[in-house]
Amino acid sequence: MAAKHLRAKGTGTFARPRVQKCLSPLHASVFARYTLRSLAANRVRTAVTVVGIALATGLLAAVLVSVTSLRAALLAQSYASGGVWQAGFTYEDDEKVDELRAATGEHLDRLALRRDLGAAALSAESAEESGTYLGVLSLPEEQAGTARSAGDDQYAVIPGPTVAEGRLPERAGEIALPTYLQGAELTAGASEIAGVESGAVSDGPLEMGSTVTLALGQRHYGMDLTYRWHSGASLMDGETLSDVGEPRAYTVVGFVETDYETGNAAFVCYDEPAATASGEIAGTAYFSTVGYESASQIGDALVAAGVDSWSYNTTLLIYQGLDRGRAIIDSLAQIAAVLAVVIMVAAVSLISGAFTISISERTRQFGLLSSLGASRRQLRRTVLAEAAILGLVGVPLGLALGVGGAAVAFAVTADGWTAMLRETTSVSLVVAPADLALAVGLSAVTLLASAFAPALRASRVSAVDAIRSSADIRPSRRLLRVFARRRTALDDLSADRRRPRGLAARLGGMPAFLARRTLAVSAGKQRVSVVALAVSVALLVTAGLVSDYLHGATGYIDTGTADLRVNLFAETDDDYHPVGDLVAQTNALAGRAEQVSGVRSASVTSQGSVAFHLDAAGVDADALETFMQESPYGAYYLDAAGYGSAHLVLLDDATWRALAESLGLSDAEKDPAELSCVVLNAASVTNDETYGTVQPFTGAADTIELLADPENMASDQWLGPADDGTFGLVTTDGDTMGTVLAVPTDELGMAAVAQVPVAAYAEGLGDASPFSTDDLGANAPNVIMPARAVAASSGCETVRQGMSSSTVYATLSPEADDIETLDALEEALEGIGDYGSVGTYNLVELARQSRAMELTVNVFLYCFVAITLAISVANVFNTIASGLMLRTREFAALQSAGMGRRSFRRMIVAECSDVAVKGLVGGVALATLINYALFQAMSASISTLVLEMPWGHVALAFAVVVTVLAVSAGYALRRTHAMNLVEALRSDVM
């Protein structure tokens, strides 16, 4: 009241407007000083707030920069693989190109032409292997005279073909043929087209330096339409070849890969003269533009040039933002938007929390200033100036952090990006000024939004409010209802009058009661902390989830322990029996592989199939039934009577010994010269919807009997299960197209060629196995045997005839290079005559790629989570610490009324625990919902997925929450204690 009175008097005495004008610079500096001092006075909170702003800005900048960089990488990848052309069209008249130049004007950036010289018909004989036609295209050549045609050659307008061998043609008369013609001989004679003789003849099998003579003509399809001249090698209905020119000889200088765009075409150089009779040729123009805002503007220019059909390089246009599509760019933009919103919400809650606390701490000061004549606008500005100062420090710091952080993240994850983009393009950091400007803008908006409400509140503080300082006590409605129900004074106390009423007091005494009451009275403030904590917890747990799911997804690729794998497929005779003896080769291959430099150890398996029989008691008929119902393969290659066909896996000596060791077999059984077997008793019934494994064997049969194939099988008959699950000689029923039994097994008279004791029924191969169950048969029983014993057994011939392939699994020496070693291994194994084709797999590389991808996703995921977490933690710290510090006087009052340190500490712990429990429960609940949603989304693709909470991350979240609360409370209490109890009790200005 006194202050108001003073101001009124002042107004009367001085000519106020003039004085105010004179004093305004002084006022400004007073308020600026005041702002700076209040920031300095709360150094820790100021620092935490600046860090919060910096993190938010940094994260925004990092997200924007990352998205731009990814976009640039995708664009670069698209440029590298498909060229920079945006649209292309076929023309038959060179003038069309000039018209395009005219129509696009300055917009035309780069232009390349590819000429289509025509197609040659192959003889009917050659056509069997190599198609009806061979088209001939010129290499694309960039045209000068456009904006960037000179100098900018990092990417081609449209890339030329990929050379498989030799080189591309460089002068007229040279030709590069598609690889499928390598070794083929093009002959003369009638072609597949009525009345057209072969126009493609070679001087023997085609190789480097061969001469091929081609007579090129125009392919016509339909009435007047000249169908794409070179497209496809196969004959279209009703098409003709006309305008065939004189045969011309070309020298083969290389072989090129075929691709979808060019079809089966040979390439000549751009200067090759036309070869059709009329001298007419077609061409395709590919061009890029600058300055157009959408693909349709490019289309408009084409229409203006008189082009009526063209194609767009759609992928590129989408990446360039000129075309809309359901593409990765959209998802990237959406992800960026979602992340930006999450960051901004987290940041607004943090920063506005800090301001709110800063304002309520200074309520009395604002009241005082207001009573001394500070206008509302001046008070508002004080707060906004505070925001501006914090922003001036925090935002540039954030930009540096964000860009630097993104650079580090991209550097760390370079391998992962390369693996994911499947190209040699690397993702490098692209810092666009627009992104930085956007980050700064968003940060400014965030700051303004954060400071606005607190600033408004500061300007509305009245002197009376300030002195009563009652703004912070807002009892919840529940508490007011409780009070309203209480009638007499004694209603506040328990029946024995020793405690306040209520559960908290009964359980935890006065400290718990006080804590509970404080939370009921300042629920709003507490909610800020709880929500911030819950969001942090949910983020952390969700990160764990996503990471687990990712790991799970890549973890399903079971590769065994081997680093390299070489598949060797048997050379077969006309009856599809192997020419060589794969059984005998098994050990030889292992020896051979182990001599390759870089190979530490090698294991060899030889695969084949053999009919077998075991006692019916050894078969679990129910399991077979389940397999037939659930698995995507139909019936199992084993029936209830014990007849079946086994997927035979023969092992080299060392591998057999290792397997026997891991299964704990006897010494006799470990001996690879002893005939015995391990039956894999597990069959996967995983289908699109469910996951499962059944055990088809009961384990009751001690031996299995290998059977010789039946004699005189018809060509449409084979050994296998009929649709009802019965094993025997089966055939396809002409009416139903189902598989039916032709001859039951017991009538086949299949001779038993060997009795093999079963050493073990194993449910898995163990962790040390070089090969995995994925390498084995999915719908037939897997029987594993030592190759040495099989070779010595009387049934060898039957087994040998059923073999189909061998596989070499190699582990690398510590120093060895995987790619070199794989090459050496392939070379060492290729020369063996018994095998036809060879396939190599670099398992290390596959594993490395999947690890790199996982790492990449994890790095970005955890960076984001860690920073959002840091923002939330700063938020919780500010809220809890400041909330406690504001109550200094209340604490002093409690202590002067006789509350001991221990009770006091218990009260604070109770308050913080309440917040912690609510935050954790809320966060875990939120994470569980997210988990369920993710699970639903992911189970569509991975049937073996089990719904599991990442308890490790929940525990981590728990630890984070406890630590944050402990640090916040500890800091606040130290500050509170530092204040003398006496001073606190007397303090009239807080």
């Binding site: 009563r468 009652s470 912070d472 006590i473 009892p475 009070f483 309203a484 209480r486 007499t488 004074a489 004694l490 209603d491 506040d492 106390l493 024995d496 009058r497 020793r498 405690r499 306040p500 005494g509 006065m510 006080l514 009451r517 404080t518 009921a520 009275v521 300042s522 006087r889 209340e890 002093a892 009052a893 409690l894 202590q895 002067s896 009324a897 006789g898 509350m899 001991g900 340190r901 221990r902 009770s903 003398n980 109890l981 006496v982 009790l985 007397r986 009239d988």
Partner: protein
């Protein structure tokens, strides 16, 4: 009988050149049932003295004996017990716990001690303090005078050995001041409550049994009024 014995009480804040002697060798005794007013200018050491007696602050040297027991031989935890049982403090700025209602604030020291609240005393007190009908209000729903009455209720609830009031009327208008002082005097006369009041107000000081004047941390005069 002397309920309070203060001997050679000295309190120094800071050290070296900046050291300030807030209390300098103060000794006096207070008899049970006595009403003592302590006067003095700002910085004379009044409040420091009161906080020493109340066990809120520890002296640099000297002893305070309440009921014959040395207050500062106690540990911090025991001091807290001492504060809630033996003394009742009333401040200029009330210092109520903002989250507790009137009754809860008044009963706070008793409840913290885990003893049963004396029902008769509580109802009596509420009536005498004129707080009937306000039992379940929070401090910020009360006027300054009402808040100070709650503070007095809190101080008296435990029937402490001594009630210490630091400018209890300093923040109140004259009507409320008079009410508060009459309440305090009433407790002194009717309940025989030992009372030490710090005041600036000469009229208040003159209603006490005895007036102790402090000057620069020393006792300048000790006058028996009645």
């Amino acid at each position: 009988m002397d309920i309070l014995q203060i001997e050679h009480l000295t309190k120094t804040y800071g050290s070296g050149d900046t050291a300030v002697r807030a209390l300098d060798d103060v000794s006096f005794t207070v008899a049970a049932g006595e009403f003592v007013a302590i006067i003095g200018s700002s910085g004379s050491g009044k409040s420091t003295l009161l906080h020493m007696i109340g066990g809120v602050d520890r002296p640099t040297s000297g002893t305070v004996r309440l009921n014959g027991e040395d207050v500062f031989q106690r540990s911090d935890e025991q001091l807290a017990v001492f504060r809630r049982r033996e003394v009742g403090l009333v401040y200029q700025f009330y210092n109520l716990v903002p989250v507790l209602d009137v009754v809860e604030n008044m009963c706070l020291p008793v409840l913290m001690d885990g003893r049963a609240v004396n029902e008769k005393r509580l109802t009596n007190m509420l009536r005498v303090l004129g707080l009937e009908g306000r039992e379940h209000h929070l401090p910020n729903q009360l006027s300054g005078g009402q808040q100070q009455r709650v503070a007095i209720g809190r101080a008296l609830m435990n029937a402490p050995a001594v009630v210490l009031a630091d400018e209890p009327t300093g923040n109140l208008d004259s009507r409320n001041s008079a009410e508060i002082m009459s309440l305090l005097r009433k407790s002194n006369k009717e309940l025989g409550q030992t009372l030490i009041v710090i005041t600036h107000d000469e009229d208040i000081a003159l209603t006490a049994d005895r007036v102790i004047a402090l000057e620069d941390g020393r006792i300048a005069s000790d006058t028996r009024v009645h």
